[in-house]
């Protein structure tokens, strides 16, 4: 290649530098259907059979709809679900496979070449657009009359204010995050049944999922004090677990020595990580595991975190006995229950001051 011809354009130059030249599209190869009409007719019949089978299956769907009732089972599954799904799914699949088979076997098979053009517009177009924008800006006088521009921007900026204010009533401002419905003298009762608990009811190794008694109480008119969403809201902070272990196993921190009764301790059931209810209690190790993210708390050691992503120990509810010998709370939780929030540190201080 010693000829002196200069490459005309870039692509040819690249072509020249490429180790292997483009051999061009290979010769077209034919499908059996292109060559043999009987093959093509067979394929046509196959595809039509798929479409007709699909139509039949759709009818079958309707037959199942009116004949099979909800209780019937098929191989231990709901016969309706299997019947509907099988007929619908298979029919749709047959339609899809048929159409694609049609495209692959019978439709035109010659590959087509289309040229690409750079995504960018031509230089003239660009120049024209820039010119237009410039003319528009110039004619509007936005550059020359800054007062108009700035006051408009101010007005548009102020439009954000009503937008923000309108969202204000999405919800109340944060309040009462640090308190729960527990208060002095409230009985700890068994969840679901609402039965109050006596120390003698609990054996060593026992776990009771408890709630404050108020959830099972009715007001003077016979309505439940907490109902519906309010109940769920209150529950999501006030649920507790009561456990009993051997008193000698408990290593109560200073000031907590008399928060339990004969080895019976009460802790918040709500994980301090992101708030899952925790009750995976290992009675021999006294560890409590959260099923959501595996934070582990040692209930014999003041609810200390011994593994996992939770930072704060599990809050403990101080217990006492009322005159009838049932377990009651001495106060609300001295520590904040449920997941951390930005104001927690401040709220915790307030709680500490109160007690």
């Amino acid at each position: 290649m010693s000829d002196e011809i200069e490459p005309r354009d870039e692509s040819r130059e690249i072509q020249r530098r490429e180790p292997i030249g483009d051999p061009g599209l290979p010769e077209h190869q034919y499908r059996p259907q292109d060559v043999d009409e009987s093959q093509a007719r067979r394929t046509e019949r196959q595809i039509s059979a798929m479409f007709l089978a699909a139509a039949l299956l759709f009818v079958g769907f309707c037959v199942i709809y009116v004949t099979v009732d909800a209780d019937t089972t098929f191989l231990g599954w709901s016969a309706q679900n299997v019947g509907f799904g099988f007929t619908l799914g298979t029919a749709l699949l047959l339609i899809g496979v048929g159409i694609i088979q049609w495209a692959k076997k019978l439709m035109g098979d010659h590959e087509i070449i289309e040229m690409r053009h750079p995504a960018r517009s031509s230089d003239e177009d660009r120049a024209e657009v820039l010119g237009d924008i410039n003319a528009g800006l110039e004619e509007s006088g936005i550059g020359r009359r800054p007062m108009i521009r700035n006051s408009l921007l101010t007005a548009l900026g102020a439009l954000g204010l009503p937008a923000v204010f309108l969202l204000r009533d999405l919800g109340p401002l944060p309040k009462d995050q640090r308190v729960t419905v527990w208060k002095k003298g409230m009985r700890v009762v068994n969840d679901v049944s609402g039965m109050p608990l006596k120390p003698s009811d609990l054996q060593v190794g026992q776990l009771v999922n408890g709630e404050p008694a108020v959830f099972f109480e009715e007001d003077s008119e016979g309505n439940r004090v907490y109902e519906g969403t309010e109940l769920l809201q209150a529950k999501s902070k006030a649920a507790v677990i009561v456990v009993r272990m051997r008193p000698e196993a408990i290593r109560a921190a200073k000031g907590r020595e008399n928060w339990g009764i004969d080895g019976i301790l009460c802790y918040s059931k709500i994980c301090t990580h992101v708030g899952c209810p925790i009750s995976l209690w290992e009675q021999q190790t006294h560890h409590l595991l959260c099923p959501c993210h595996q934070s582990t708390f040692d209930l014999a050691d003041n609810g200390k975190v011994i593994f996992g992503p939770a930072y704060r120990p599990l809050p403990q509810l101080p217990l006492a006995l009322d005159s009838e010998g049932y377990l009651i709370a001495v106060s609300d939780f001295p520590e904040i229950v449920a997941p951390s929030y930005p104001e927690l540190a401040r709220d915790q201080k307030k709680l500490a001051e109160k007690s």
């Binding site: 679900n81 692959k104 049944s193 003698s200 609990l202 026992q206 290992e282």
Partner: protein
Amino acid sequence: MYAALAPKPATAETITSRDVEAGRQLFEIGCASCHGTNAEGIETTRGNNYGPALVGVGAAAVDFQVGTGRMPMAQAAQQAPRKDVEYSAKEIRELSAFVASLAPGPAIPGKEYTDTSKASVSDIREGGEIFRTNCTACHNSVGAGGALPGGKYAPDIRDVSAKHTAEAMITGPQQMPVFSDEVITPEDKRNVIAYVQKLNDQPGYGGIGGGGLGPVVDGVFAWIIGIGGLAGFAIWIGAHGARVKKR
């Protein structure tokens, strides 16, 4: 009413002193090496339990541990797994009688715990509430079991007999907490058992389930079956079929 439901001491049943004696002999052969000749327990030199004391655990604990094959343990492990039962029903009764004779403890639960045949719709609903509040955290919403730290686990409870389920609740085997009759009454326990039975008697409405394991299995199905299958179709669509030489 309550007194009638309270567990009676195991000795009140038709257990004879001959049973106790036979149980003692079985115990000395099969259990004493870990639990001590008088079931007083054996401590390791480090002060850990080699085999715990069995005085006062009652017939229910023995019936559960031996009746589900957990005892005798094949080797030291974090947790005794359920396996083939090694003792006959008669031998289990004798072993239970011997351990129950050492000190009073919970008896093998009777029909009031296990007879779910008359459970009403509201009983089952109540049982479901108790189950979801107390049990699902470890045993999962269908009873398929779950993980605990250190290789321990809450076992699958779906094919456990009503008697053994009730015994587990009463005695709190291994890491499982105790659910005493005073808090979860025998009737409550029966309702829980009825709920789990009812739940697992329901047809699998939606088809093949992931064994009650939830979204993890769903995700595995979505990727392997869903994306795998549809990518397979895509490969078929993109493939160029048979070609022939044109005559």
